[in-house]
Amino acid sequence: MYSQPEQQHILDSTALLHFKSIYYPENLYSGEIAVSIGAAITIAPRQVVRDEIRQIPQLTANFRLGLPLGFGVGAQLAGNYIANQLSIKPSYSYSLNHFSFAVHTTPSLWLGTADFTGFNTLGMGFSNAVGASVGIHFEDFMITLSGEAITDYWHYTSFAVGTVNRRLTEFVGNAVTCSVEQDAFNGARINWGIRFNYTRPDYQLWLAFAETRTRVLTPEFFFGIIL
């Protein structure tokens, strides 16, 4: 058991520390920048890809910039050559003690290319995910739960000389993300989590050219180190 001074010291230092975060809704200080690098892998649903596609992890880089009045903007670059994505995420957040909330929209441009045996194919598309997040901050842990509704705006696919444009605006499904940001080692901060996409086969599976109209569950695991 700790002595009274020790407990007072602990209580003082328990006052929520400010950490640079990528996912936790609480805004960064105005002008403050957070950067993380890491990797993500999507588990391809078997009913879409059978045993024909092995998912390759994507390298990810996340950026976040704090703006005044609770606003902020984030960006993500994710890529593995076959499927690559650039997302911009403007947000507005509000914090109350251990809790923080945000609303955000994430327009994303994706580009994929496959020029190995059996493929001479390039695909690209544009989508947007509108959503809200709620986060809880205890000690060095920040847990964030996000829900998003995803709309596809256009797709473009070319296979050698043939090109197909599809400009459909359609709601394609939802995503729920649970992320954790925490201390790791030597004062470093890490983030990790899982994103459940319940959508038409998402852009990372574009090479499957799945035309199923039903939504499928594609979990995505991610991990990063906050620099």
């Binding site: 879409v48 059978r50 059996g118 296979f159 050698a160 043939g162 050219f209 035309e211 199923t212």
Partner: protein
């Protein structure tokens, strides 16, 4: 409390989902079956209905126009949207009556449908007075929606030589009436527009060629929880004891599939997709016997063994039977030459490969692209013209896009 209820509902939902169960073909009940005492319509007469029709009423799920094709005593409507109808036919008094079902090929919507036309029909280009009218019904089949088709024109190509090869009967997740790679699905694929079929072949532990797509047994393809892991861990007898396909039928052997193809279909082509190189030498004797039996019964059918890797080609050429066993090579044109294949099966995602396709065709070999499933990709391939066929999960969609060309 609400949160608790939502969590319990989610857990229950997650506990119930199985997307791969078959979706049975809707059937007319006996008291409304108008065809039970009907006079069969001769095939040659039914053939006169073939052509492109405009949808006058009931566009919704079916698009603006449909392609009507005859198959034996049935007619099939292939729609712009991937939906298809299959009708039985018969004369009742002064009318030709068609009763059957419709199905949305990319989802699980299905229902009954019926059409009628005056007995003395004859679709001729320029004659727009030919109208088929009737109704289609939803899954419950209570209130019909009016459905009317007006003839526009005959097909540009009436030869039926363009190969529409069904990709092992479709994929279970599309709600097929029978499982993919099952004996039940083989004749069904022909009804919806295919004139050939591709089947996946792999070996059991006791080296029996069976129809099965994946390396591993899983709930996507089989029922039977003790059958897991690689297919070739099990003998055929063990597989037959431990599991069935999703429609409840046993995993079929290649020989059983050959028997169904000869006895229940009129397919022109059969593509055997050999999943592992070691399977090749077990398939060749069966393939040769099948071709001999087909010839004896006066049946014109091609049967190709699929060569998908260098190892496949090596095993194929090493087998002395290969000279009697036609093959389709999925690799590059030089490999087609090396294997002495009669057909080339390029993957569509490489593009049309026009020069190579022209060269192969000038050598008298076939060019068949696989596996094209979306209208926006199917149309450019049909339009470029240097092909003999398309392998697809949706033969009705290819049928529509090929035969509706003006």
């Amino acid at each position: 409390m609400k949160v608790l209820i939502i969590i319990v509902l989610c857990m229950t939902f997650c506990s119930c989902v199985d997307n791969n169960l078959p979706l049975p073909i809707p059937e007319w009940s006996e008291n409304v079956d108008k065809l039970k005492n009907a006079v069969p319509i001769p095939e040659v007469l039914l053939h006169k209905l073939e052509g492109v029709y405009r949808v006058e009423q009931g566009k919704g799920l079916f698009g603006d126009q449909v392609v009507l094709r005859q198959f034996a005593h049935k007619i099939t409507l292939a729609c712009q949207t991937g939906t298809y109808f299959v009708f039985e036919s018969g004369f009742v008094d002064s009318l030709a009556i068609f009763q059957g079902y419709w199905r949305f090929d990319l989802g699980t919507q299905t229902g009954l449908a019926e059409l009628k036309v005056k007995k003395d029909f004859n679709a001729q280009t320029g004659d727009t007075s030919l109208v088929l009218s009737g109704s289609y019904y939803g899954n419950k089949g209570i209130n019909g929606t009016p459905f009317e088709l007006k003839f526009i024109r005959k097909f540009k190509d009436t030869s039926n030589t363009f190969l529409i090869l069904d990709h092992h009967g479709g994929r279970n997740e599309y709600g097929l009436p029978y499982s993919e790679n099952s004996l039940g699905i083989i004749p069904i694929a022909e009804e919806i527009g295919a004139n050939g079929i591709e089947l996946d072949v792999r070996l059991t532990k006791d080296n029996v060629p069976i129809l099965f797509h994946d390396d591993n047994l899983s709930t996507n393809l089989v029922n039977g929880e003790f059958a897991i892991g690689p297919v070739n861990n099990y003998t055929l007898a063990q597989l037959r004891a431990l599991c069935t396909l999703k429609d409840g039928s046993p995993i079929p052997t290649l020989q059983e599939a050959f028997d169904v193809i000869l006895s229940k279909t009129s397919y022109q082509s059969l593509w055997l997709d050999i999943k592992t190189p070691e399977t090749v030498s077990y398939v060749l004797p069966l393939q040769i016997a099948f071709l001999k039996q087909a010839k004896l019964s006066g049946r014109a059918i091609e049967c190709w063994v699929g060569l998908t890797s260098d190892e496949h080609i090596t095993n194929y050429l090493a087998d002395s039977l290969h000279t009697q066993a036609p093959s389709i090579c999925e690799l590059d044109p030089p490999d087609v030459e090396r294997a002495g294949s009669v057909a080339w099966g390029p993957r569509w995602t490489e593009g049309s490969l026009t020069n190579e396709a022209i060269q192969i065709r000038t050598e008298g070999k076939r060019v068949i692209y696989w596996t094209l499933d979306k209208a926006e990709f199917i149309v450019p391939f049909i339009n470029h013209g240097n092909l003999d066929g398309i392998l697809t999960d949706h033969p009705a969609l290819v049928s529509y896009n090929y035969y509706s060309r003006n």
